[in-house]
């Protein structure tokens, strides 16, 4: 485990742990404008693992959005790195939702090919993170962040036959042989869609 992971697990942090995992990245930015420290925390495998375990995958993904805010000053390289980590976690979200112990494997399989030292450092900790025997990926076999899909949405119970993307690129509708349509997107965009007779007919 990382030093930060060990520290967070100490009994002396027991009553602040939840608070720190929830709010500390934001506090670094908002209270102290200490962007480097924000960066170090959200790049730390121990922090990522502890947060995932306590709070689930979505709050974790949102921590990396903080870094994209215009008044958060990070180097080009740091911004890129955060994007890769967030991308890898987002791509793994549907797996982690089901089984949090897949974190190390998912990150290794998606990030091993990136040679940035900070990413390799994070993966090194991930490699050491298990106390019991496990099948540790030696090569990146899963789709990497930045290529292919952003996130896998699960929910249809049968094959998806068609997907239509709205002209603004922000809403998608999928049609499946399970006789349902699913609409993904923000509510405003969903509301703007004009229902076409064809879609209604199929529904």
């Amino acid at each position: 485990m990382s030093d930060l992971g060990v520290w967070l697990a100490e009994p002396s942090q027991s009553d602040t742990r939840e608070y720190l995992l929830k709010h500390q990245p934001k506090d670094f930015i908002e209270i102290d404008r200490d962007f480097n420290r924000y960066y170090r925390w959200v790049m730390d495998f121990g922090f990522i693992e502890a947060k995932l375990n306590l709070l689930g995958v979505q709050p974790l993904i949102e921590d990396y959005d903080l870094g994209r805010n215009a008044d958060v000053l990070l180097s080009e390289g740091q911004t890129q790195t955060l994007k890769l980590i967030q991308g890898a976690i987002r791509k793994s979200a549907h797996v982690l939702d089901q089984d949090k112990t897949q974190l190390a494997g998912q990150l290794l399989e998606r990030l091993l090919d990136f040679e940035k030292p900070q990413i390799q450092g994070l993966l090194e900790v991930a490699r050491q993170s298990k106390n019991s025997p496990w099948l540790r990926p030696l090569m990146a076999n899963l789709e990497r962040p930045g290529e292919g899909c952003l996130r896998t949405l699960i929910g249809h119970t049968s094959g998806v036959k068609a997907v239509a993307i709205a002209p603004d690129g922000k809403t998608a509708i999928s049609a499946s042989s399970d006789n349902t349509l699913k609409i993904c997107g923000t509510p405003r965009q969903v509301r703007k869609l004009e229902p076409s007779p064809v879609i209604l007919g199929r529904y």
């Binding site: 002396s12 993904c184 509510p187």
Partner: protein, 395 residues
């Protein structure tokens, strides 16, 4: 009123199925806010009329802070024998996000109507679509009965976290037949679907009558209030008549002041010197504290209350408070006692957590003039608190 609601339940609500308890946070708020509940008949009659005259829709109860919106919403849940969906937003408890509402409401709907979902789908809390779908499914099952959703304190929702242009909490624009939302909010403008407003502030005569009833009830129940009145050489009705106008029909004020009399905190205060209005109550407490300049704990007391007010995006336990101000747990406990009328205490996973009881006190603390008199530098306090919390962290 009981009878009218019994009739409503019999005609419009299916009471055959057993009702599971509401989520813990809801139950604690309901219990707290319906303590000594008095009157408000005219509000409930308006709600009943709304339910009878409309096929579906939104009923919005509007009033200033402390006037009793949450208590009315909580009482409504009890009058409905919990055969409704209930959600209480609360800044001091960190219940401010649309996802929390959607998760709570959808879960309650699925349970209440035994809908066929093993778990909430992943996108259920992203926007209002899944909730709308459930409302449609329930509506189809209602068979002439009604579904009522009670949602308190829309003004405390963190709307900036929602998709742009959406209704607060993603409340659906269109409701299916026999589905009703009874919601409350302060008089500020919020993005809401079409709705009917009930402005509680317009009913000052009715509210004044309820205020008097409440004072009388609290007095009957408390020997120490009665003896305070005796010591002032007053009759009970004189006491009621004098305190009611000071309250400006604000029940939060009454709760604080009557609690203080009950606990003998006003033994040397005369009727005339009782604080005026809610703000007056805060101010008086504040001045009393600040007046004791020889109090060695004063600085720490002030720090602690500001830490709670700033930290409490949710209720916090003594541990993080003590760590943030860099003091011993035991000392903090001593100080928390001083502020106890302003703090809500609740048991969460085996420990007591504290939050600001009413948002109006947080607003009071944030006033420039109050911050100045406290001599706190809020930014510095936040920074110091954060550094204390992460002291020793290796990164």
């Amino acid at each position: 009123l009981e009878a009218q609601f019994r009739e409503l339940r019999q005609t419009f609500i299916d009471t055959s199925a057993p009702r599971l308890p509401l989520p813990y946070e809801c139950e604690t708020i309901i219990q707290d806010r319906t303590q000594d509940f008095t009157g408000r008949r005219f509000v409930f009659e308006a709600i009943l009329e709304f339910l009878q005259k409309n096929r579906q829709g939104y009923f919005v109860l509007e009033a200033d802070p402390g006037v009793g919106k949450s208590s009315i919403m909580a009482k409504l849940v009890l009058l409905l024998k919990r055969r409704c969906v209930a959600h209480f937003n609360s800044q001091s408890q960190g219940i401010v996000r649309a996802e929390q509402f959607l998760e709570n409401a959808c879960t309650q709907l699925i349970r209440l109507y035994q809908l066929n979902y093993q778990q909430l789908p992943e996108n259920a809390t992203r926007d209002g679509n899944f909730l709308s779908r459930l409302l449609g499914e329930v509506s189809a099952k209602l068979g002439g009965k009604k579904l009522i959703l009670v949602v308190d304190a829309l003004d405390e929702v963190e709307i900036s976290l929602q998709g742009r242009g959406s209704n607060v909490l993603y409340l659906p624009d269109a409701l299916p037949d026999n589905v009703y939302f009874i919601v409350s909010k302060q008089p500020k403008t919020l993005p809401l679907p079409n709705h009917q407003v009930f402005d509680l502030m317009q009913y000052s005569a009715e509210s004044l009558a309820d205020v008097k009833l409440y004072i009388d009830k609290r007095t009957s129940n408390s020997a120490s209030i009665q003896s305070w009145i005796n010591r002032q050489n007053l009759q009970r009705d004189q006491f009621v008549a004098a305190v009611a106008p000071k309250s400006q029909n604000n029940f939060m004020y009454l709760r604080f002041v009557l609690n203080d009399i009950d606990r003998d905190k006003y033994s040397d205060v005369t009727l005339n010197d009782l604080p005026r209005e809610l703000e007056g109550y805060y101010r008086k407490h504040w001045t009393q504290m600040m007046g004791r300049e020889d109090d060695p704990l004063l600085e720490m007391k002030v720090k602690i209350i500001y830490v709670i007010s700033n930290l409490a995006r949710e209720a916090v336990s003594r541990g993080p408070i003590a760590k943030s101000v860099g003091e011993k747990d035991l000392k903090v406990q001593q100080v928390l006692k001083e502020w106890e009328s302003f703090l809500r205490q609740q048991q969460v996973s085996g420990e007591i957590r504290y939050s600001i009881y009413h948002n109006s006190f947080r607003e009071f603390l944030a006033k420039d003039e109050i911050v100045q008199s406290a001599g706190v530098n809020v930014e510095e306090l936040n920074r110091q608190g954060m550094n204390n919390r992460i002291e020793g962290a290796p990164l």
